[in-house]
């Protein structure tokens, strides 16, 4: 059960984003508490990625604001970004670097103190199952391992908010299970936003689910309520987005 008193880690108010005449995201509201895993669902083009890019400071909202751990993302972008880990849809990997080099770079960029670098690196490699590949070039790894490096990059600095855009794409069923396990683990200490197309993944991992359609939130409920009502996520999803 979610603790209502847990600290608010991320709050977005009235986020709106236009691309010219097109409204990609309209009045997006979100309050996320520590220890909560939110599943963000929606058909292609619903505005999920745009929303996530706004929450991570990659894209400025046309209106509305984002606060991360009480710090305004637009006023103090650097302080706020230090609390966020982001895995975009396409993992931002330098194929010419080895796993170690890349993760060290990510740690330094995220201001992990020098003394803690080594421990952070070992810890994250262990969590993501990358120990065997420390000195391999990222470009030579398989898609699944590249995806893990992408996740490792997002969590190496122990962020309070972790935002994962389709993290299990291209993984085999075993890897998928491991990654879901990892997300659940992360969800105990941080807040996680998980954007995905795979409904069982959300049913499995998330505490709360939001469905976006044409730029707006059309559904927002804790998973536990859904289970009590005995409605399947799939039927809700089809009903709302068709």
């Amino acid at each position: 059960m979610l603790d209502e008193t847990a600290a608010l880690t991320l709050s977005a108010q009235n986020l709106t984003r236009h691309y010219g005449e097109v409204v990609a995201v309209h009045q997006f509201d979100l309050q996320l508490r520590r220890g909560e895993v939110l599943g963000l669902l929606g058909p292609n083009g619903a505005g999920k990625s745009t929303t996530l890019r706004m929450l991570t400071g990659n894209l400025a909202p046309s209106s509305g604001g984002v606060e991360i751990c009480g710090i305004d993302l637009l006023d103090k972008p650097q302080e706020a970004k230090a609390h966020v880990g982001f895995l975009p849809e396409i993992p931002p990997l330098y194929f010419d670097m080895t796993v170690n080099e890349y993760l060290l770079l990510a740690a330094r960029l995220h201001r992990v103190p020098k003394e803690a670098l080594k421990a952070a690196l070992e810890n994250v490699k262990q969590r993501c199952g990358l120990e065997q590949h420390s000195n391999n070039l990222i470009g030579t790894l398989s898609k699944g391992y590249q995806q893990r490096v992408g996740i490792a990059q997002a969590i190496i600095h122990n962020p309070d908010v972790i935002i994962l855009d389709e993290p299990t794409v291209g993984l085999d069923p075993n890897q998928m299970r491991e990654i879901r396990q990892l997300i659940r683990e992360l969800g105990t200490t941080s807040s996680v936003i998980l954007s995905t197309h795979i409904l069982p993944e959300v049913e499995n991992v998330c505490d709360r689910v939001q469905i976006m359609h044409q730029g707006s939130i059309v559904f927002d409920q804790p998973m536990i309520d859904l289970r009590q009502q005995n409605t399947s996520l799939e039927s809700v999803f089809t009903q709302l987005t068709q």
Partner: protein
């Protein structure tokens, strides 16, 4: 933070064979010019002794070497600057830098300074080449200093322009072609306006370098180089910020 980005840029540069290849080629070309000039100097040395106040070894050898170096660096700048932002955009790795607690200014300055460290390595090799003349006689260190400062300022302008053009596109090849085009244009302006005291001269980067090449640390030229560099760095930062706002 800037240091982290400079380190990353240098790392990326030196794990590719391109940087090493360019270092070797530049050194080869300049050593060749150096030897040709040294040869010429030795040939005319006896005649030089007969004129009053003859040009020294620095003027006869070092000046032309730096003049050629400026043109060679003009040619290789596009190859080095093209990938700075265009490639990151193409590979979607820019997101890593933008999502990190690093300001846009840090990213742009880090990339610019990373490239400048590489060019400083090339320039220090040229200086080492010239200093080898010390074994045979006296050198005019003032002239060497003004040439070094001039070349650094010129290359900073080249790099800032290359960085800006790289930020305009997602295709490294287009960035390279664009940069080369503009740099050649800025060079050719000089030739086009060579006959007259035309105002066009003020825009030619190599014309301004000429002053330094002849041993004159000119305030106007220095100001021009600094303004040119700062302008394009600011434009790059604005371009990347604009992408976040409008893109």
């Amino acid at each position: 933070m800037i240091i982290t980005i400079i380190r990353k840029e240098l790392h990326m540069l030196f794990i590719s064979p391109l940087a090493w290849l360019l270092l070797a080629l530049v050194q080869l070309v300049l050593a060749w010019v150096f030897l040709v000039r040294l040869d010429a100097f030795l040939e005319i040395q006896s005649q030089l002794l007969q004129i009053a106040n003859p040009p020294g070894v620095t003027e006869i050898i070092v000046t032309p070497v730096f003049a050629v170096a400026a043109i060679v660096l003009l040619m290789i700048t596009p190859l080095l600057s093209m990938r700075l932002i265009a490639e990151e955009r193409r590979n979607r790795t820019l997101t890593l830098l933008i999502s990190a607690p690093v300001s846009m200014t840090d990213i742009v300055l880090g990339k610019f300074l990373g490239l400048m460290v590489f060019f400083s390595a090339i320039i220090s090799l040229i200086i080492a080449l010239c200093l080898s003349l010390r074994t045979g006689g006296m050198m005019d260190f003032g002239l060497l200093l003004s040439n070094t400062i001039g070349l650094l300022l010129t290359v900073a302008s080249f790099s800032a322009l290359g960085l800006y053009i790289s930020s305009l596109t997602a295709q490294p090849a287009i960035a390279a072609a664009g940069t080369l085009g503009v740099l050649l244009g800025l060079w050719l302006i000089d030739l086009a306006a060579s006959a007259t005291q035309s105002w066009l001269h003020y825009f030619s980067l190599l014309k301004h370098f000429d002053h330094f090449n002849q041993g004159l640390i000119d305030t106007l030229s220095t100001a021009y180089f600094i303004l040119f560099t700062v302008t394009f760095l600011v434009l790059t930062i604005r371009r990347l910020d604009g992408e976040r706002l409008h893109g």
